[in-house]
């Protein structure tokens, strides 16, 4: 098995006219790579009628519905994170209940509210109660505020994880730009945060640093917007790890933190 724990899809109400092609390309490339499961999220309307990282409740619901439809269309290979905007607590909690009830397997927190903010607590409490992981969008060492998002960095996610020791968090795209060494230093002793290897960055030394900082049992394989970089990391890891360790990164670690039954062979 090979589980991509950081995938995205698009739908008809996004700014992209090529949304079908991008979805098809992801599935097709996944077949070549050997991806058995794409665990995906849709961030509202990707900016069409509300900002990508500050999606309106209506757009959040539309995006989640589109993902549920994809999950029904590809029950063998698509799994969903329910995306929420924590600024709308009532809607966010209801959306989590609705989408987990419909078969989604995790919660996606993007960048609508900093990870240190108390507004995230009721959502994390739901994650604990339902036994699902939280994928937190992270800017690897945010030195300033960036337009369009209220991004968190690894240290802030570590603070959230400390407040919720029974919730499993995923630090998004360690290769997604920014200072990944800052994130790894922050996570070294935070046992309930897992590192998602996705992102366009394929820096020499990054994978060795991930292994050294958090260990192979806290690494999760993913792609985000660049599937070739994910495949490249997998190929490189095959030279660093034993076959048994590689299986942990490919799927066993993921199978351990997602709810039982999320994947067929766990």
């Amino acid at each position: 098995m090979l589980i991509d724990i950081h995938a995205h899809f698009y739908h008809d109400r996004t700014p992209r006219a090529d949304w079908r092609e991008r979805n098809t390309s992801r599935l097709s490339a996944g077949d070549k790579i050997g991806v058995t499961h794409h665990v995906a999220s849709i961030l509202g309307t990707w900016g069409l009628t509300s900002p990508i990282y500050f999606p309106s409740p209506r757009d959040v619901t539309y995006g989640n519905d589109a993902l549920l439809a994809l999950q029904r269309q590809h029950p063998d290979r698509v799994r969903g994170y329910v995306t929420v905007n924590p600024n709308y607590t009532t809607h966010a909690r209801a959306e989590i209940e609705r989408c987990l009830g419909a078969g989604m397997v995790g919660i996606k927190l993007a960048a609508s509210r900093r990870a240190t903010d108390p507004l995230l607590d009721p959502l994390c409490e739901l994650a604990r109660a339902r036994g699902v992981p939280v994928l937190q969008h992270v800017w690897q060492h945010r030195r300033r505020d960036w337009p369009g998002q209220e991004a968190s960095d690894g240290a802030e996610l570590a603070a959230l994880a400390a407040r919720h020791p029974d919730v499993r968090f995923i630090l998004a795209h360690i290769g997604g730009g920014g200072d990944w060494q800052h994130s790894l230093a922050a996570l070294r002793t935070v046992a309930n945060v897992y590192v998602d290897l996705s992102g366009s960055g394929v820096d020499g030394g990054m994978l060795e640093a991930c292994l050294e900082s958090v260990g192979v049992e806290r690494l999760l394989w993913g792609t985000d917007l660049t599937m070739e970089t994910g495949w490249a990391k997998l190929r490189y890891l095959a030279h660093l790890l034993s076959p048994a360790q590689l299986e942990l990164v490919k799927w066993k670690n993921a199978a351990r933190i997602f709810p039982p039954g999320a994947f067929p062979a766990d």
Binding site: E21, R22, N23, S25, R26, S28, A29, K32, I33, W139, Q140, G177, G178, D179, W180, Q181, S200, G201, V202, D203, G204, G205, L207, E208, L225, T226, M227, E228, T229, W231, A232, K233, R235, Y236, H239
Partner: protein, 257 residues
Amino acid sequence: MRIDVNAFLGAYPYRRVPGTAPERLMQALERVQIDEAWVSHLPSLFWRQPMEGNAWLYDTVARERRLRPVPAVHPGLAGWAPTLGEAVDHGAPAVRCDPAHYGLDPAGPEVRVLAAACSAAKLPLMMAVRLEDARQRHPNDRAAELPAAAVRALIRSDDAVRLLITHADRAFIEEVHFGSTPDEAARIWWDISWIWGPPEDHLAMLVETVGVERFVFGTGQPLRIPENAVAKLDLLDLGAQRRAAIESENARAGLLQ
């Protein structure tokens, strides 16, 4: 046959990078099945006198038949011109200039003179758009990225100069390619190291819109893991001939004249 036109030797000043020694690069070439690598001396890119790294580079590649040197030229320093003759004598497939790191205007008079001299010496001029993602650079690593406007200016500055541009993304390539005449665009080669694959499919699109003949295989190793360039080709639906064009034939036919 696979030629990596974009490889480095030597330490990087801003973070620990494994695999910078010659023997480690050779292991990486073996691992990723790269037959030949064009290598630059990474530390001297940051030196005031980058040409001082060329002697080490020549000496090192002379011991490895799979390596070819890409010496540095700083056209703002007196006495740079003989460097081109040395490069030819050492079988260099190209010379490199990183004007922003040298504190030069990337399309200023010094670099234009270098472009003309490379043209006369029939040596391609290699320039990197960037070495690392701008979002992750060390706080003291402040050299500007190579602007697309500079590449357009340089290709227009001499009617025979050939440019090898590394680490460019889709937007950069499109801006330069479609902002140039067909003749100008035909004298620019792009390495694939920074171009995205699926699901965005930038490389697939560029191969169709810009033309497969414009692209060469490059990795940016060891700053980037070389598996990435191979993986993106493996994800492209290219026939054997077009893949070979990117992996080696475009470099051989267009740059090794």
